[in-house]
Structures are given as C-alpha cells and as structure tokens.
C-alpha cells in the first residue's frame, strides 16, 4: 500500500481514491462524476499525447486531464 498522485499512475494500474484535494468548481465536478474517496478504479488508457487519462470505474469510463488528476490522491498496491 502506498499513496501516490493519480498523474503518476501507469496504464492498466488499479487504485482506490484516498482524497480529493481540489475545492470549489473542480472539486465539485470530480465528485459529481462519482469520484469520491473509497472509489476503486483502473487506469484504462491514455490519449496519444499521454493526456488526458481514461479511468474505468465500476459502471462507466471517465476521462480527465493530468492537471486535474494532480488533485487526486490514490492508494495503490
């Protein structure tokens, strides 16, 4: 178990959200899409230029930019 920033995750790596450091609008949007502490996900892939990143969560796929992933702290194996 270790805590890392979501940006540092590799493709096909899975993790569990530990904390969302963003507030106001960005924080709100991240949470509204179901990314809340405790959510488990898999890094499904990255765009050709490595940004944005696609996350596979239980029932759906989300994409976010690296600059947004910076605010998300993840627990990985």
């Amino acid at each position: 178990m270790q805590l890392i920033n979501m940006r540092e995750m590799k493709e096909r790596q899975s993790g569990k959200i530990k904390a969302i450091r963003a507030r106001r609008e960005l924080g709100r949007r991240i949470r509204d899409m179901g990314l809340v502490p405790g959510t488990e996900f898999l890094v499904k892939g990255r765009a050709p230029l490595k940004d944005p990143v696609a996350l596979r969560i239980a029932g759906f796929t989300l994409t976010l930019r690296n600059s947004e992933a910076d605010f998300i702290e993840v627990e990985v194996e």
Binding site: I20, R31, G59, F60, T61, T63
Partner: protein, 700 residues
C-alpha cells in the same frame, strides 16, 4: 389543466431517447430564455389527458457551476412542474442516484424511470424496483427507452404522483455532526423569515448556504439581506471549523455523505448480482483498438475522411436537384415578369439569395446525420479525448475538433454546420473561442477563389500552395483562439472531466429527429433574417442604376461589359472605388473590392463578381473560365497580389449566413458584429503585411 412533466437525468441515461419515445414527432425545439441551451418540449396523451413534456438539459448534479445545471434547477424550482421524471440508468445506479437525491431534496414531486433495465439484466444484475421505491419514497418504474417498454406505466405513475402530491417529502439524509447541527440551527431561521421558501424547502436553502452556492446566496441577499447575513455567518463558521479540523470544505462533506447514503440504500437488497458480466466488456474491447495510442489517430483520420466523403458525395445529388429547381423558378420569372427593378429583385435578390442559402440544406442535413451517428454511438467523445491535449494548448477543448473539421479543416467543409456543431461543447469559454475561429477554415466556397488564383499565378506548384493554404488557415485559427483566450475570453480552462459513454448502436429515429431539428432551425433562419440581408446586398449591388445615356454606349453582345459598368455605378461599386486608396496597400483595386463586398453574401460570389467587374470595357464578353487568363495578363496582378488576396479571403468576415449562425449560437449579436469587424481588420493587416513585405523583397 395541462400538467407539465419535466424529464431530468444524467447525460447518456437515455433521457432524450425516452423523450422521443413519449412525444414522437410532436416536439418543439427552442431555447431557454436568454441562453443557448436547447429547450425541447412535446406533448404526451394518455386516455383523454394531455401532458406537456419538457426535456431538461442532462446533468450529473444540481450545482450552480454549469449553465445546464442552473437551468434544470431553476426550471424545477420556479416553473413548478407537476412532476419531475428522473431517468436513472439502471446499469449505473450509484452515480445516477446522486442526482436523484438532489432532486428529491428540492421537495418536488418525483417519479423515477429505471431505464436500460435490459442492459442491467443482460449483465446479470437484478434491481428490486419496489424496494428502491420504498427506500426513496417515490415511485420507481422500470423502462427500456429504446423500444418504448414501460413508457405507459411510467406516465401513469407520473400522473398519479401529480394527482396525489401532498407537499415535500422528508428524506433527511444525515451529513455528519458538523453539518447536521448547522442545518438544525439554520432551518428555523429560514422558515421563520419565509426566506426563499416560496421556491425551495428550508433545508435545501440551508444546504446551499453551506455549500456556498453563489446563485442561491446572491438570490438570498436580494430577498432578505438580514436573514442572508445570519445564514452566511453560520456557514462561514462551519467552513472555517471544517478547514481547521479536517482540511476540507462543507461541499466535500455533503457530497461524501450523499454517496454514503446512496451506498446504504443500495446495500439494503436493491441490487442482486448473479454472476456479474462486465457490461462494458465489449466497449472496453472496442476501445483497445479505437483509442489505442498508435492506431487510434489513424482510425480517427479515416473516420473523418469517411464523414466528409459521405456528406459531400451524397449531398451533390440533392443539391443539384435544388439548384435545378431554383433555376426553373428563375427561368419562370425570367420569362413571365416584365423587365425592371421588381424582376431584378425577384431573380437576383430573392431567388438567388434564398436559393444560395437553401443550397446548403443537403450538406447540413447529411453532415448532421453523420455527426449524430458519431455522437450517439459514443465515438465523438473518444475523438475529443484523443485530441484534447493539442487543443488545450490553444485554450480550446478536445470537443472543438469536430466544428473545425466540419468548417473546412480538411478543405471543403462549411462553417455553417461547423458553427452549429460547436453545440457539443459544454464549456462556455472554449465554445465561444471555437465559434469565433472556425470561420477561418477553408470552406467549400473559398475553394473556387483559391483555385482561380492558384491556377492563374501558381500553376506550377498547385498542390504545394494548396497545402500551404490549409496549414495557414489552421495556424491562423489556432493562433487567434490562443489570443482570444488570453484576452477577451480570458479564464482558466473548464475542467475536462468527461464521460466516455459505452458504445451503442444509434437509433434511427433519434438520429433522424436530431439531424432534422438542426436543419429545420437553419431553414427557418433562411426564411427570415437571411432573406432580408440577401435583399439588402442585392440593393447595394443594383442601385443606383446606370443612367440611360451611359448604358446606351454598350450595344448588343456587350451585356457583360454593361453589367460591369452597372456594378461600378452601384453603391457596392462606389464603396469599392472609395476604398481603393486604402486597399491599395494590400494590392487590391476597386474591382477586387466589389468582389469582396459581394463575398460577404457568399464566398462563391467573389469569383462571379470579379468576372463581372473585369468584363468592363472589354469588347468581347469572355467566358468565366477566361477570367484566370485575364487576371494573369493584367498588369495590376501578379503572384504577390494573388497571394495577398488568398490571405484576405481566408481570414476576412464570415459570410452572412455564418454570421447569423454565430449570433444565434453565441446568444448575442455582439459576437457576430465582433466577428465581422475583427476578422476583416485581421485579414487586412495580414494581407497588407504580405503585400508590403513582398514588395520590399521585390517579389511583386
């Protein structure tokens, strides 16, 4: 009394499909007052009752951050629909219920459509609808919007809710000790002061104050500054306490508890999983290829080329029908009307003007058929995903790519559907920057101008010059977008957080309805504003007429020369002539100026007007194809002038059809006027720079 039913739900929950299934073709598309978000309304009849249905914008939440959410929220609070039908994706229950919870908290009558039950079932997930209904305290009706299953039961349940509604239900989600005690303190203050309570329940208002919701807090200040201040004090106290002790804010705590509440409901036997199969298995497999970092971009290029080919190949035939239809009309007017101003107005002003505009209809219809298929299938979101990094550099968004390509990013598009395609962009600043820069792309109407000039002056390097022209338009558009986003449309990037919906086969009905809606909106515009502008341009190019004594000089067989003389005498001609001292800086004479004025009507007009203007004073009326040779021979023209003109045509004012579309899509004529003025000034500065620099280097 006709009851209003509002449909709310997440994007991709099947909301629009359900709306289409319920209302069929009986729908009306308009805008919410003052904004450009589409408002769809329709009628549903059951027995002898009639309901008015409103399709609210798809949202994930009910905050004040996005326009769609504010609209949905305001509609529910102020229009007080008899019932809000919340469409919930059964295969994605948890995230969808997050919105449901917020709607129930607004204290309005709610009925849930548990949609895509078939998908959930095939995945081996059974959802206990009665149980969910009991836990939430609202009716839950299973539906499959794609084939209409359950729509009757849903509407019957909705009607029942509307008839028996007896005031807000208390759900009383617990938000943890800090928030709960603040709520307990705030609620009596709100109720006693009747503070915003004509629209919202007291608890909801208190929650919004804790969340520091800008829209509600400012509405509150206007309603009762004294009460508002008391609430803000409490909220401020909670905020600083949470910040100090937990390093977080009330908004996060509230959201976490909402998800916690939903999890607790789902755990109470709502979902039963029998050998779960991954519903997204197929989508994930497809994505392995389509958004593969190496293969993805190539496939994307192929899809875009296919879209182009499809649109332009198939629109040629109906476009030719329309053309011959208008030619027939023209012929009739030619044969049956008496010579004079009225005839000229009917032919050149009305038939040619409206005909030119309606000539776009097949392209728009087909382009939107294609785009809707790409959008509904889920592929468009992948395109945005793959290209976002590139567009982000220029202050745009991954979703800007379609408008650019449609407008002529690959030479030969059209800015009109391109501007309309910008609607898929949800972030307002990026969207405006996209609207204002797509007209720089090389649309199909600019191509004949480029072809003429390249043919006359760069015949030996045709392909290279054309390639350079394409690069210039992309470079120019992206550079302008960058500048706009640093200056007048300044602001941090809107968060990109976007769902990649599972791949789905689009429904024929959904695609047809959507494509037709866009086309119809365009046709309606053609019948009103566009007709008026077309007549105005005709008048500019026809009046004042050439005095009889001057017209007599031209004999039979010199009609083309006569037309040229008439053009010079007209207002447009005078504008062109009077601008000559200025435009000389870019190497343009009065003839070119008139053509460029005419080009505002439609860029195709540039070539034909140049033809008319250059036939002046010639004894033999040469054919249009001779224009190229004539320009090449003319002493005023050279490769440098031609290149300056190419640059000018590429960047100057969009044609008026596009301008009307910009006004509509940007929600204000201010931006349309800006686009005309800014683009023209920019184009002129660039053309002058090219011409002057070239002259200094001795290239003229």
């Amino acid at each position: 009394m006709v009851h209003t039913i509002a449909l709310a739900g997440n994007p991709n929950s099947g909301k629009t499909t359900l709306f289409n299934a319920l209302t069929g073709a009986r729908q009306h598309v308009g805008n919410y007052p003052g904004v450009t978000v589409e408002k769809k309304t329709g009628v549903y009849k059951i027995d002898d009752r009639e309901f008015s249905l409103v399709d609210l914008p798809g949202t994930y939440s009910m905050t004040a951050y996005s326009l769609e959410e504010v609209i949905a929220r305001d509609f529910i609070a102020t229009q007080k629909p008899a019932v809000v039908v919340d469409i919930v994706d059964a295969a994605n229950l948890e995230r969808n219920l997050y919105l449901t919870l917020q709607i129930i908290e607004m204290g309005v009558p709610v009925c849930i459509a548990l949609n895509m039950m078939d998908v959930a079932k095939s995945r081996g997930v059974r959802i206990d609808a009665p149980r969910l209904s009991a836990l939430l305290g609202v009716p839950v009706v299973p539906t499959v919007a794609r084939n209409g299953t359950g729509k009757k039961e849903l509407m019957a349940a909705a009607a029942q809710v509307a008839d028996t509604y007896a005031g807000p239900k208390e759900l009383n989600v617990s938000y943890g000790e800090d928030i709960d005690s603040a709520l307990a303190e705030m609620e009596p203050i709100i109720s006693r002061g009747q503070f915003l309570t004509q629209y919202y329940p007291a608890r909801w208002v208190a929650l919004k104050y804790l969340e520091a919701d800008e829209q509600i807090v400012s509405a509150g200040r206007r309603a009762d500054a004294h009460v508002s201040e008391k609430l803000e004090q409490i909220a401020g106290r909670v905020a600083s306490h949470l910040n100090r002790t937990l390093d977080t804010d009330a908004e996060s705590i509230i959201a976490d508890h909402r998800f916690g509440f939903i999890k607790s409901i789902i755990r109470q036997g709502v979902i039963e999983v029998e050998n779960e199969q991954n519903r997204l298995y197929l989508s994930d497999q497809i994505d392995k290829v389509l958004i593969n970092r190496l293969a993805g971009p190539f496939i994307m290029a192929g899809v875009v080329l296919l879209l182009y080919h499809f649109t332009f190949a198939f629109s040629e035939i109906p476009a030719a029908w329309m053309e011959s239809g208008f030619a027939a009309l023209r012929g009739m007017a030619e044969a049956h009307m008496a010579e004079g101003v009225l005839k000229s107005l009917v032919i050149s002003g009305i038939i040619d003007g409206v005909g030119g505009v309606l000539g776009f209809v097949p392209i728009i219809l087909l382009m939107f058929l294609g785009i809707t298929i790409l959008e509904d299938s889920g592929y468009l979101a992948r395109v945005a995903f793959m290209l976002d990094r590139v567009f982000k550099v220029f202050g745009l968004h991954g979703s800007s790519v379609m408008p650019f390509i449609v407008s002529g990013g690959i030479a030969g598009g059209c800015a009109v559907p391109g501007i309309m395609a910008a609607r898929t962009l949800k972030s307002p600043k990026e969207r405006l920057a996209t609207l204002l820069t797509v007209p720089f792309m090389n649309c199909g109407a600019k191509l004949p101008v480029f072809a003429l000039l390249i043919g006359a002056f760069f015949a030996s390097h045709k392909a290279w010059v054309m390639f350079a022209v394409t690069l210039m338009s992309w470079g120019g558009a992206l550079a302008v977008a960058w500048v706009l986003r640093k200056t007048i449309i300044r602001g941090t990037a809107t968060p990109f957080i976007m769902e990649l919906p599972p791949y789905r086969l689009p429904t024929v009905r959904g695609v047809l309805i959507h494509a037709w809606e866009r086309t119809w909106q365009y046709i309606r515009k053609a019948a009103t504003v566009i007709l008026a502008i077309s007549i105005l341009l005709w008048a500019l190019m026809s009046f004042p007429g050439l005095p009889a004594d001057q017209a007599e000089i031209f004999g039979p067989g010199q009609e083309a020369a006569l037309a040229g003389a008439e053009l010079r005498h007209s207002v447009a001609g005078r504008i062109g002539t009077s601008l000559e001292p200025v435009t000389e800086l870019a190497g343009f004479d009065w003839r070119t100026n008139i053509a460029l004025v005419g080009g505002f009507a439609a860029k195709e007009v540039i070539v034909s007007t140049l033809g008319t203007a250059y036939s002046m004073g010639e004894i033999d009326a040469e054919e249009a194809s001779g224009l190229s040779r004539r320009l090449a021979r003319s002493p005023q023209w050279g490769p440098l002038t031609a290149f300056a003109l190419i640059v000018f045509v590429m960047f100057y004012s969009p044609c008026f059809v596009a301008v009307v579309c910009i006004a509509r899509e940007a929600g204000s004529w201010k931006w349309a006027v800006f686009s005309v003025a800014f683009n023209t000034v920019l184009a002129f500065v660039l053309a002058v720079s090219v011409y002057q620099a070239g002259s200094l280097l001795g290239l003229g």
